[in-house]
């Protein structure tokens, strides 16, 4: 069943700072099927973050539509959007944990907001910490954790909302290659066991290769190419895709050598 799950239609976004304006997105359309691990790759400034932030409306697009599971997000009321967002998890490059609270408290946080009873909150949080392999760090503070561990906490936190979509904006960009691999494996495991549609935003080829099934190449606010990872990587059509491939290969050579 390859029904479309996230439907992005003709999305445009322009930033104006003083007299300068940048068209970050110029009519982007994408169809992301349910249960897919979908990658969006592009060089810095391509508009990737803007795109992903338009998906959960952290950024309001100037034009276009975002339809998730049949619901047009732009037509929702504030309250409806808030509830919808709980089902659209997002993780960031910088993990944004609350530094003054323990790992467990951080993970409990969304549940607290949703007024889940205390005992249940703790049980659930521990369950998700277990899932990301950090049950033994429940009482540690974020400052005592490594970058990879912090990202795991952020993942456990977002999972407590039981999201149907997970948006990852450069979630591994602050991590070394080994840790990146571990986090990607964790995301794949979550995808396989919980049936969550995952959108991965990255500028790194190897991230796409590692876990994505489909990929869109974004350049200069335009989708240059879109298809299965195999097709795009073995037989790139667009200039941007070819260039990214070249960069990816050099990086890989450097990493191995």
């Amino acid at each position: 069943m390859n029904t479309s799950y996230i439907e992005i239609r003709n999305l445009s976004k322009k930033y104006t700072v003083k007299d300068n304006s940048v068209e970050a997105l110029k009519g982007v359309s994408l169809t992301i099927p349910k249960n897919e691990i979908f990658g969006v790759i592009g060089l810095s400034g391509a508009g990737k973050s803007t795109l992903v932030r338009c998906i959960n409306l952290l950024e309001k697009p100037d034009d276009g539509e975002v339809i998730i599971d049949g619901q047009n997000l732009l037509e929702l009321s504030k309250q409806e959007l808030r509830l919808k967002r709980q089902k659209i998890g997002m993780i960031f490059q910088h993990f944004n944990l609350l530094e003054q609270q323990t790992v467990l408290e951080n993970v409990c946080f969304p549940l607290e907001i949703r007024r889940v009873p205390k005992a249940e909150r703790k049980k659930k949080a521990l369950e998700f910490l277990e899932k990301v392999g950090l049950a033994d760090k429940a009482n540690a503070y974020p400052s005592q954790l490594s970058g990879g561990q912090k990202q795991r906490v952020a993942i456990a936190r977002v999972l407590t909302n039981e999201p149907e979509v997970l948006l990852c904006d450069e979630a591994t960009s602050a991590l070394d290659p080994e840790t990146t691999k571990n986090i990607l494996n964790l995301l794949k495991h979550i995808h396989d066991t919980m049936g969550i549609t995952i959108v991965i935003i990255t500028h790194e080829m190897r991230v796409i290769k590692e876990i994505c099934t489909q990929v869109a190449v974004l350049d200069n606010g335009v989708v240059q190419e879109c298809g299965s990872v195999k097709d795009v990587f073995e037989n790139p059509q667009s200039k941007s895709a070819k260039r990214l491939l070249l960069i990816g290969e050099t990086e890989e050579a450097n990493y191995v050598g």
């Binding site: 808030r82 967002r85 089902k87 003054q100």
Partner: protein, 224 residues
């Protein structure tokens, strides 16, 4: 004892008078501090507004407070305004007005600084978790702002308490004023009184400001 000039304290009600004066100073400080904190928070939130008018007005306000010595403000309010508007405000009220005028500006600036130092991503990640704006402020932004604010505002409070001695200039019977009266009255009998009295005044200020600054550094360490 004679040499240090401390004997003047044991004459009549001198020591009590000194304590009384201290209480007036503390009362002025406490009331101005309370006003400064409450209004300062509101002003600080206002100052983060993008409105041009608010930006300009608050900039001018801050500059006035920074450039004008408090003493000048005190004279303007106490002598100037009473003459111009023909009202009658006590020295204590004028002092409270001036110190609050100053405190609100400084506090507002601290609040504004703390608010804009919270990275945008903190708002966004909480929004992305499906929290309402009010929840974001209450659970994410407020605790972090307060944590940054406490050491800074305690520093402001200690400065305000110290500056209250300025009030003496417009004749409030306040610590330094009382001290000076005691010194004057005893010039003949106890020529060293200047030293003794000021030493005691210093001690009294120290006793008030020291616990506050200890508390400040403790909180700073704990929440840094």
């Amino acid at each position: 004892m004679q040499n240090l000039g401390l004997d003047v304290f044991f004459k009549g009600t001198n020591f009590l008078r000194l304590l009384d004066g201290l209480w007036v100073a503390v009362r002025i400080s406490l009331i101005s501090v309370a006003i400064s904190i409450i209004l300062g928070i509101a002003v600080g939130v206002l100052m983060t507004s993008k409105s041009r008018i608010i930006k300009v007005v608050s900039k001018i306000y801050l500059e006035i407070v920074r450039i004008m010595p408090q003493m000048v403000l005190l004279f303007i309010v106490y002598f100037g305004s009473t003459r111009v508007f023909r009202w009658n405000i006590s020295a204590e009220i004028s002092a409270i007005i001036v110190f609050s005028f100053w405190g609100v500006a400084e506090m507002g600036d601290l609040v504004r600084g703390a608010l804009i130092s919270i990275p945008k991503i903190q708002y966004e990640s909480s929004e992305a978790l499906g929290m309402a704006a009010s929840q974001t402020y209450l659970y994410i932004i407020l605790p972090q702002t307060v944590r940054r604010l406490i050491p800074l505002s305690i520093n402001l409070i200690t400065r305000m308490i110290k500056t209250t001695s300025l009030v003496m200039m417009i004749g409030i019977v306040e610590v330094l004023k009382v001290a000076q009266q005691i010194i004057e009255a005893n010039r003949r009998v106890s020529p060293n009184a200047t030293f003794g009295v000021f030493a005691v005044v210093f001690l009294l200020y120290f006793l008030i400001c020291w616990p506050i600054s200890r508390l400040a550094s403790y909180l700073e360490k704990r929440w840094a």
